[in-house]
């Protein structure tokens, strides 16, 4: 049986090691925080914070304390605040060990598209282009196929790119794939998913 959203997040959390500074994107990646267990992980919020805590209790919301998704959050004992230039300095400078992000499309060469669909409303890339260009390891977590059942893992992206050759690992409901030489390497299959199932759902080359 393929993984559900929480199981994908749980699998993604296995990517994180003690001591890592990590940036989590919106959607399933946000759920990863629920599965880090007792690993010492520090979450960055790219609007200017290291050590992001959980949502505040009702009545304790602080308008001066939000995450990159503009949600109210809290601080921790380890927290530090800084400005946006410093924040993206640490992202661009490779100080963030990993980013776990959602995607619209990933190509077998590591290209990532997750910020615009031509002809639809364009909201902007926010910090996504900086993150994929700068962090040590880019891990995409997404459904393997779109709502029409078409593969989101392609030979080459059809949508405008967020970054070129930036993805290291893809975690989907069907399994785990690594961007490798000449194609994607199957690292792991979700329980009950066969290699044939994965091949049928994947446009990209599997090696």
């Amino acid at each position: 049986m393929p993984w559900d959203r929480n199981q994908m997040a749980e699998r993604a959390a296995q990517e994180l090691e003690d001591g890592m500074y990590v940036n989590l994107g919106i959607g399933i990646p946000t759920l990863v925080a629920n599965y880090v267990g007792d690993k010492d992980i520090t979450l960055q919020s790219e609007n200017g914070m290291l050590g992001m805590g959980p949502f505040p209790y009702e009545g304790e919301e602080d308008p001066d304390l939000i995450n990159a998704g503009k949600q109210t959050i809290t601080e921790l004992a380890r927290t530090s605040y800084f400005d946006s230039a410093q924040s993206f300095g640490m992202i661009r400078g490779g100080k963030i060990a990993a980013a776990i992000l959602g995607a619209m499309e990933v190509a077998e060469n590591g290209d990532l598209a997750n910020w615009m669909i031509p002809g639809k409303l364009v909201k902007g890339m926010g910090g996504a282009m900086d993150l994929v260009a700068g962090v040590g390891r880019v891990i995409v977590v997404m459904d393997h196929t779109n709502k029409k059942g078409e593969s989101k893992i392609l030979k080459s992206c059809t949508l405008p790119l967020t970054g070129k050759g930036v993805v290291d690992r893809i975690i989907t409901n069907l399994g785990v794939l690594d961007v490798a030489h000449k194609g994607l390497h199957v690292v792991e299959l979700a329980p009950g998913v066969t290699r044939a199932d994965l091949e049928a759902a994947t446009e990209a080359t599997l090696v």
């Binding site: 919020s45 790219e46 609007n47 200017g48 914070m49 959980p54 949502f55 505040p56 209790y57 009702e58 009545g59 304790e60 919301e61 602080d62 308008p63 001066d64 304390l65 939000i66 995450n67 998704g69 503009k70 949600q71 109210t72 959050i73 601080e75 605040y81 800084f82 400005d83 946006s84 230039a85 924040s87 993206f88 300095g89 992202i91 661009r92 290209d111 409303l121 364009v122 909201k123 902007g124 890339m125 926010g126 910090g127 996504a128 282009m129 900086d130 260009a133 700068g134 405008p160 790119l161 967020t162 970054g163 070129k164 050759g165």
Partner: protein
């Protein structure tokens, strides 16, 4: 040299002109110079180009200057919260130059630091790189981004002393320091002005040299997405 002004309108007196370029601090609705934005609305300045990560919401923040059609062009990384923005953009009334968020912040800081251009990996191989010079360093490709030099900076801080030293609070710092640095003149609005010597000199986030005018006022500080957990979850 007195930096403290009685109102946001007074603090902007003589600084506004049609077609000007303004750099604004804030991220979403957090740490935005709401009083100065309202004063610019009242002044009716037209054809403004604004560098700001976002453009507020329809009725708050920079969104109010969209309602009055005072903005000609935005340099932003994300404008998803604003229906009027989309309407004006799609109808061709409003120009938009997308900047990756980190590139925008660094461009502001660069302008303030006398750096007219710098190389970055961000955006290489994407539409952002189109029309930009690129250069190889150590076998890797980088694109040239230019410093932002604005006519005016408008920022919001938590506290100031009367010499213009500023401190910010939590994530309301965000774009405010780099935005403050890149303007010919910088006007800051704060929640409280304290006497010089009251702030720890080791903890000044933005030295007064960057801040030409100051105004103190009450801030709405609207929350864009109120997310909470219930006590039971604890």
């Amino acid at each position: 040299m007195k930096k403290v002004y009685g109102s946001a309108s007074e603090a902007l007196d003589g600084l506004l002109f049609d077609g000007m370029f303004i750099a604004a601090g804030g991220f979403g609705l957090c740490g935005i110079p709401e009083l100065l934005i309202d004063a610019i609305k009242d002044a009716g300045t037209k054809d403004i180009t604004i560098a700001s990560n976002n453009c507020g919401v329809d009725d708050f923040g920079l969104g109010v200057l969209l309602q009055t059609k005072q903005i000609k062009k935005m340099l932003s990384s994300y404008v998803g919260e604003n229906a009027e923005f989309m309407r004006q953009y799609l109808s061709g009334e409003l120009e938009l130059e997308f900047n990756p968020q980190g590139t925008l912040a660094e461009r502001m800081r660069a302008g303030g630091c006398g750096i007219p251009g710098f190389y970055t990996k961000t955006g290489v191989g994407t539409v952002i790189a189109e029309g930009k010079e690129s250069k190889m360093f150590n076998g890797e490709e980088f694109i040239l981004e230019e410093g932002i030099f604005a006519d005016l900076s408008i920022v919001k801080a938590w506290k100031a002393d009367d010499t213009g030293n500023l401190i910010f609070r939590k994530t309301a710092r965000n774009f405010n320091p780099p935005a403050a640095m890149c303007g010919k003149v910088c006007v800051a609005e704060v929640e409280e002005i304290v006497p010089r010597g009251s702030l720890d000199p080791d903890c000044i986030h933005l030295p007064g040299i960057y801040v030409h005018r100051l105004v103190q006022g009450a801030h709405e500080k609207r929350i864009e997405q109120r997310t909470v957990r219930t006590r039971e979850e604890a």
